[in-house]
């Protein structure tokens, strides 16, 4: 090889490697912005890997304090406001679908129950993943939820003002959709913001069927397996403003991650577990002691 013959290809090779490494670095994606598919009450941007099954059991106890709490109910541990059991499955890395059964717990400000005995279908589609080095700054996931009440229809006089009177089948349904925008700012801190829209096909007297909301959530990684969580949901509708008797659903919690398990313990004023329930129907107030202990157990299986 001549001197010229060696220097030119080497120069090109080094240039190619440099360009290649820059290109590879630009495509480096950020994984696990949150450790779980939920923050406290709301969904995180996380979808399941393809072929992964996530079996989840969630529980919300009764009020810790206030009129319905205290020692009489052993600080809410002897009453259950909502319980949910179900599973989600990763159809692909970007698409997760799930089915849950939940008791339902929300009540209107007059005290009338919302939908009960719910079947809940969940779908999550990952639209974009956060990238490092000048790539996409945010992860984006679209989440949809449809709730269907299987409660027996209430017939007869005196039940006309009850949701469970179900004048037609569609009245058993409520739905929610939200766009989850999230960013992992460092290995220890992630944040998300989610505009959402909830629609109830049948609502109590003088309530509104559709409502926009905005929610936010964050996570702080404390140790390799332990993290702190917080979230809040703010309905953007006149009938849910301060003084209306409705309150934003606010959750605080922590989670442990073990091999294949995530165990979350939380405190929240939301009585219900599904967005179609706790966004329009949270009438419990942190400042009145109407918050509760809750937990979620998540177990992952590879199918």
């Amino acid at each position: 090889m001549t001197q010229n013959g060696t220097t030119t290809p080497l120069y090109l090779l080094v240039l190619a490697v440099l360009l290649g490494s820059i290109s590879l670095e630009a495509q480096e994606q950020v994984y696990r912005i949150f450790k779980d598919s939920r923050v406290v009450n709301i969904h995180s941007p996380e979808t399941l890997p393809k072929g992964r099954l996530d079996v989840r059991i969630s529980h919300r106890f009764g009020d810790i304090a206030g009129d319905n709490g205290g020692f009489a109910t052993f600080y809410g541990l002897e009453t259950a406001s909502d319980v949910s059991i179900g599973a989600e499955y990763g159809v692909s890395d970007a698409l997760t679908v799930g089915l849950y059964r939940a008791k339902g717990a929300g009540v209107s400000v007059e005290g009338f129950p919302g939908l009960r005995q719910l079947l809940n279908g969940v779908g999550k589609l990952r639209l974009a993943r956060q990238e490092e080095n000048g790539g996409a700054p945010l992860s984006a996931t679209l989440m949809g939820l449809i709730s269907l009440s299987t409660q027996e229809k209430l017939e007869g006089a005196g039940n006309e003002a009850s949701i469970a009177s179900f004048p037609n089948f569609n009245h058993r349904m409520a739905s929610h959709i939200q766009l989850i925008l999230a960013r992992k700012f460092s290995d220890g801190f992630s944040l998300q913001v989610s505009p959402g829209y909830t629609h109830r096909n049948l609502v109590p007297f003088e309530d509104k069927n559709g409502m926009f909301s905005v929610s936010t959530g964050g996570r702080i990684q404390v140790t390799r397996t332990f993290g702190l969580l917080a979230d809040a949901v703010f309905p953007l509708i006149d009938s849910r403003t301060s003084g209306s008797g409705y309150f934003p659903a606010i959750g605080l919690g922590f989670e442990f991650e073990t091999s294949g398990h995530i165990f979350q313990v939380n405190l929240t004023n939301a009585t219900a577990l599904m967005e179609t329930d706790f966004i329009p129907y949270t009438t419990t107030d942190w400042t009145e002691g109407q918050f509760r202990l809750g937990f979620t157990i998540s177990r992952l299986f590879n199918l």
């Binding site: 007059e110 005196g158 949701i163 096909n201």
Partner: protein, 130 residues
């Protein structure tokens, strides 16, 4: 996005279109208020038989659930703090918190009749006379 994800996205979109097709925007009527002009029930005469049959039996509000509802004084705290009205009238459509609950024994009522509900409502409105 891969082909399978694009296909799934279209499937989800169609589901959303179907869901929109099943959307209604309906509102319940104003809750009716019982006409109590001709109805002045008392605990001993009209109300106690209803509560004895539907609440104050073994395994429920007699020896198991909170409160002993086979006498007026046992019932009184739940009348005064409004819990009785909440559970029996306002939340009655809730399968578990509405009283009587849907898991009541088969030989006990799962719901009060419209006539019984009117008696209870008028009695509470009148200040639950003994």
């Amino acid at each position: 996005m891969k082909i399978s994800e694009i296909t799934a996205f279209y499937l989800l979109s169609w589901c959303a279109v179907l869901l929109l097709g099943s959307c209604t925007s309906d509102q319940l009527p104003e809750p009716m208020v019982a006409d109590c002009e001709m109805n002045a029930p008392t605990y001993e005469v009209e109300v106690k038989p209803i509560i004895d049959e539907s609440c104050a039996y073994s395994g429920c509000h007699l020896d198991s659930s909170p409160g002993r509802f086979d006498n007026y004084n046992g019932l009184l705290p739940y009348l005064q703090d409004n819990t009785f009205r909440q559970r029996v009238l306002i939340q009655r459509s809730d399968p578990t918190t509405g009283m009587p609950p849907n898991f009541a024994p088969s030989n006990r009522p799962l719901d009060l009749t419209p006539e019984q509900l009117t008696i209870i409502e008028c009695w509470l409105n009148a200040g639950f006379p003994e």
